[in-house]
């Protein structure tokens, strides 16, 4: 395939958290590994992104500010389940990144 040299700064990182740290309102003492995408995508930008940048600098787009290349998950981790303090199970889908790219 094609060698991809763009977006080298956009990486998969992970952090060990309590499920309650996620801020989703669950009361449980269970834990998880949360994986996320982070890093610059400047070297992956194309003419479209450069034009957007130029147009926003020259204020030709009125109030629009379209997003430029972002470091985002392109695949998600397996689901995770946990038991809460009232002995009820919960399953989270698409909660954690598996693969990252500049998109």
């Amino acid at each position: 395939g094609r060698v991809q040299v763009e977006g080298r700064g956009c990486l998969l990182k992970e952090i060990h958290l309590n499920v309650s740290d996620l801020g989703l309102g669950y009361r449980t003492s269970e834990e998880l590994i949360f994986r996320y995408c982070s890093g610059p995508c400047i070297d992956a930008e194309n003419n479209y992104d450069k034009i957007l940048l130029n147009l926003s600098v020259s204020r030709k787009l009125d109030k629009d500010s379209p997003a430029r290349t972002c470091c985002r998950p392109v695949a998600f981790d397996d689901d995770i389940s946990f038991l809460d303090d009232s002995l009820e199970y919960h399953t989270l889908k698409k909660h954690s990144a598996k693969k990252c790219a500049c998109v």
Partner: protein
């Protein structure tokens, strides 16, 4: 000495979710075991049982046994033993609308190839022997724990009872046994009052029988 606050069953669940394989297969059974399929059925029991069998097949004993056989201070009413009871999602995998007679349940197990062979393994490997130090005829706790966990996901799926000491049972009883009362009690007692199985579970929970999850080289 372990602190009173220490919850071994919670610690085992934490360890599972930090391990990619255990996390994946845990959620792969909890999902079908907690998804309502219709107003009449709380879940698809067949799918729940299948995913539970996969969990115990695929996940290393260190993690799967860690959750199933975690030790709790005194059986009842603690957050620890309730969590241990919830390991197999009993509302779906265990409980039913009616509680059958144990011999009727055993007959239905015999009609299924997987259930029949796993029940035979369990009776062979967890046979009590009061004269042996281990409490077991075959002095191998690992084989007993393996064959007990093998029943999970069959119609004989056992679970912990709310009892002060470790006691397990499939979802059945010996009421309306008629002339077979003795046979039924003998069958039920093999689960509820089995010193071999109880010692095996306790040894794993206390970490005294290391060979269970770390088999000796041949």
């Amino acid at each position: 000495p372990a602190l009173a606050k220490e919850n071994n069953c919670l610690n085992a669940a934490k360890a599972c979710n930090l391990n990619d394989t255990c996390k994946k297969y845990r959620s792969a059974y909890i999902s079908p075991c907690t998804s309502r399929v219709s107003t009449a059925e709380v879940c698809n029991k067949r799918k729940c049982h299948k995913a539970l069998r996969q969990f115990f097949d695929k996940v290393p004993a260190k993690h799967s046994y860690g959750m199933l056989y975690c030790s709790c201070p005194l059986g009842d009413q603690s957050a620890c033993s309730e969590r241990r009871r919830q390991t197999i999602v009993p509302a779906c995998s265990y409980e039913d609308k009616e509680k059958p007679n144990c011999l009727t349940l055993q007959a239905s197990c015999r009609t299924n190839y997987i259930c029949r062979s796993r029940l035979a393994d369990f009776f062979a490997n967890c046979q009590p022997e009061p004269r042996s130090l281990s409490g077991c005829l075959k002095e191998n706790y690992g084989d007993c724990l393996l064959s007990y966990s093998g029943l999970i996901g069959t119609v004989m799926t056992p679970n912990y009872l709310r009892s002060p000491k470790i006691s397990v049972s499939p979802f059945c009883d010996c009421s309306s046994s008629g002339n077979s009362k003795e046979d039924c009690d003998r069958f039920a007692d093999f689960f509820t009052d089995n010193a071999c199985l109880r010692n095996a579970i306790q040894a794993f929970g206390n970490g005294t029988d290391v060979s269970v999850w770390n088999p000796m080289p041949p």
